[in-house]
């Protein structure tokens, strides 16, 4: 671990066990470091997991699975791509991916924000419980599956079965939607939606017109068992 400035620390991941890297991050943050750089991450899994300190960790390269998983208060900036489950179950804080993200980006996040500059794989924002997942390009199939609260913003296209079985929450898509999932329906874009979108787009310098987004919400036909809705239920049970 090398100190660049009093508040800046660099950790060279080469040859270090993941446990030591994560311990190094926590130690540095506890010692007051506000910016921690991980050098040579080499796509390693489980970096910056359960980071509860208000430090910013920059991963200088690609990260493997679960980078920034379970964070609460920290910021993780990934220069490259991220594997499955980036920012999974984040409570608060921010994770940004400069490249693309794998399956389950932002899975079960309770709060905070995940921004993926490129594409996200299948099941982005699956079981989202709060916060916002913003994707600069497209998302794969079954994104927003069983979403509970929060927002998924897709500036490109969305794959099949978007928002399948979502309880609540809102999905915004600027491009094409291959298909909506069971009980996912279109809704009118309201001024509050456009305001939210403008704020997110401006923050990430994304050139999109908020008014061009399609809004998808829950049809709420799956909230309770009903023999009247067999056509919906037979695909969802």
């Amino acid at each position: 671990m090398a100190a660049v400035a009093a508040s800046q620390v660099e950790i060279d991941c080469s040859g270090l066990p993941t446990r030591e890297i994560n311990r190094g991050i926590r130690r540095a943050a506890a010692d007051g470091a506000t910016e921690i750089a991980l050098l040579h991450p080499a796509g390693r899994h489980n970096l910056c997991v359960a980071l509860f300190d208000p430090a910013t960790v920059r991963v200088r390269g690609d990260a493997g699975w679960y980078c920034g998983g379970m964070i609460d208060g920290g910021t993780v900036l990934i220069d490259g791509n991220a594997g499955w489950g980036v920012a999974e179950n984040a409570m608060t804080g921010r994770v940004e991916v400069g490249g693309n993200a794998g399956t389950g980006a932002g899975a079960t996040m309770h709060g905070g924000e995940l921004y993926v500059a490129g594409d996200a794989g299948s099941r982005a924002a699956i079981s989202l419980k709060g916060g916002a997942v913003v994707v600069g390009r497209s998302v794969g199939y079954m994104s927003g599956f069983m979403m509970q609260r929060g927002s998924l913003v897709v500036c490109g296209d969305a794959g099949e079965a978007l928002g399948d079985s979502m309880y609540e929450g809102t999905i915004y898509v600027a491009g094409e939607v291959a298909s909506l999932g069971a009980d996912a329906i279109d809704a009118e874009l309201e001024p509050a939606d456009e305001e939210f979108l403008r704020s997110e787009l401006d923050r990430h310098e994304l050139d999109r017109d908020p008014a061009s987004f399609r809004k998808v919400v829950s049809g709420r036909k799956l909230w309770n068992f009903s023999k009247k809705e067999f056509e919906v239920w037979k695909t969802a049970l």
Binding site: W65, Y66, G104, K228
Partner: protein, 453 residues
């Protein structure tokens, strides 16, 4: 029958006499039960849902009997000589192991499925006895950490209420791949139990019929599970053991895969495992029973050279210390109980008869946890019903029951000449049925060798 004789199926009574009047010849295929089932489904328009476990007879621990010491073995004195029950588990990867005073744990049951009083009573009883309890879908109930001295935190596919701070407060984490009552499917909590409190804890709308996902949101197969387990170790700095819970299906393969993925301990839940709500078809027609599943799991670990290194807890249909002792004799390190603990709380107690009647049942045959109308305040979110379960009294009943289980295990072990309940072994038993002999390899009573194909 008009004349009181019983029709034997061909228009004649049991003594060959003609039966006058109606001739009742119920079909085996289209039995009254099947007819009722079809007509119920024709009314509700979906599969039937109920709680508890399967109603069918399974190959069970009761099909085995102990053969204690006689002239060939020397027994221990039942009331004097020490018989160890202490159980240490979860040390495979250097985490702080879990020490149980007796090889029993309380299975994962959610706050939502159970009332707060029930969860509290279980926690207090387990803490006094020195065993662990387990959270459930919805995460850690406020106060649950304080109620349970040793607490296992479940990592479920839904991640309802999953909080990494709670994970770090736990003594072990349990990644739930499935459960014995309904393997291959997710949890279910019906509208009547989805109160405002429970809904908020799960980030769900109040009053929905909650259907939990079955697949985890961020991993699928065993290779993925390995990375997930490593993530949980990173989140807890390797301090706590990681369990993997599976419903008993392809046990030989599943146990090997879970062990390879890095589990410190495998919780194997058999067909008799219960639940707060499930499609009935799953309860009766999925999974394999706990007793043969135990045999397969032990064999799997032995074949991998991991017996004793990866611990095994089995659950599903464990009713007393004798069932537990038989599970230990087959090679389990401990058992987990759910239904038995609820029955000790007061489940199916013959009180408040009118409320059993309101549910269309009676004490002794109630499996209506899914309705939320539990007459004894255990599986309900109705504050008035929950008052019927004062946690202090209820916890004492569970404590007494747990102690009785320990005494029964010790009694069997001492009678078999063992000074540690974990020293019980298959040779201490004989099979009472051909099936149990076949699946365990234990000699059929009266034969000197196992029944084998």
């Amino acid at each position: 029958m008009e004349n009181g004789s019983v029709d034997n199926g061909n228009g004649h009574g049991p003594f060959g006499e003609r039966v006058s009047g109606r001739v009742l010849r119920p079909s085996h295929i289209w039995s009254p039960g099947v007819i009722e089932d079809i007509q119920e489904k024709a009314e509700i328009g979906r599969y039937r849902i109920r709680a508890y476990s399967t109603l069918r007879r399974t190959v069970h621990f009761e099909d085995l009997t102990f053969v204690p010491c006689t002239l060939t073995r020397i027994p221990l004195e039942g009331y004097r000589e020490r018989c160890e029950t202490r159980t240490v588990i979860g040390a495979r990867h250097g985490a702080e192991p879990i020490t149980l005073s007796t090889p029993i744990t309380i299975a994962g049951m959610s706050y939502g499925a159970l009332s707060a009083n029930a969860k509290q009573a279980l926690g207090w009883a387990a803490s006094r006895v020195g065993i662990s309890t387990t959270t459930g879908d919805g995460g850690m109930r406020p106060g649950e950490r304080e109620d349970s001295k040793t607490l296992v935190y479940q990592v479920l596919p839904s991640r309802y209420g999953f909080d990494p701070h709670h994970l770090q407060m736990a003594d072990a984490a349990e990644v739930v791949i499935g459960q014995g009552a309904k393997p291959g499917t997710g949890g279910l909590l019906l509208e009547s139990k989805m109160s405002a409190t429970i809904a908020e804890q799960r980030t769900l709308p109040e009053g929905v019929d909650q259907r939990s996902p079955v697949r985890h949101p961020d991993f699928f197969g065993p290779d993925d599970l390995q990375i997930k387990i490593e993530e949980l170790r990173e989140a807890t700095d390797g301090r706590i053991p990681i369990y993997v819970k599976i419903g008993a299906c392809r046990v030989l393969e599943d146990v090997k895969l879970a062990a390879k993925a890095g589990a410190d301990l495998i919780v194997l839940d058999g067909l008799e495992g219960a639940t707060g709500a499930s499609p009935e078809a799953l309860l009766d027609h999925t999974g394999i029973p706990t007793m043969p599943a135990t045999v397969l799991a032990v064999r799997a670990l032995r074949e991998e050279g991991l017996e004793g290194e990866v611990n095994l807890i089995v659950s599903g249909g464990i009713r007393n210390g004798v069932d537990a002792a038989k599970a230990l004799a087959l090679g389990a390190d401990a058992v987990s109980i759910g239904t038995a603990a609820l029955i000790a709380l007061n489940c199916n107690k013959p009180v408040h008869h009118e409320d059993y009647e309101r549910l269309g049942t009676e004490a002794g045959a109630c499996h209506h946890c899914h309705t939320g109308g539990c007459p004894v305040g255990i599986t309900t979110q109705d504050p008035e019903l929950a008052k019927r379960l004062p946690p202090q009294e209820a916890s004492e009943r569970v404590e007494h029951f747990l102690n009785s289980m320990t005494m029964e295990m010790q009694m069997m072990a001492r009678a078999c000449g063992k000074s540690d309940v974990h020293d019980l072994e298959p040779e201490d038993m004989r099979a009472l049925t051909l099936e149990s002999s076949l699946v365990t390899g234990i000699p059929f009573a009266g034969m000197d060798r196992p029944v084998a194909l």
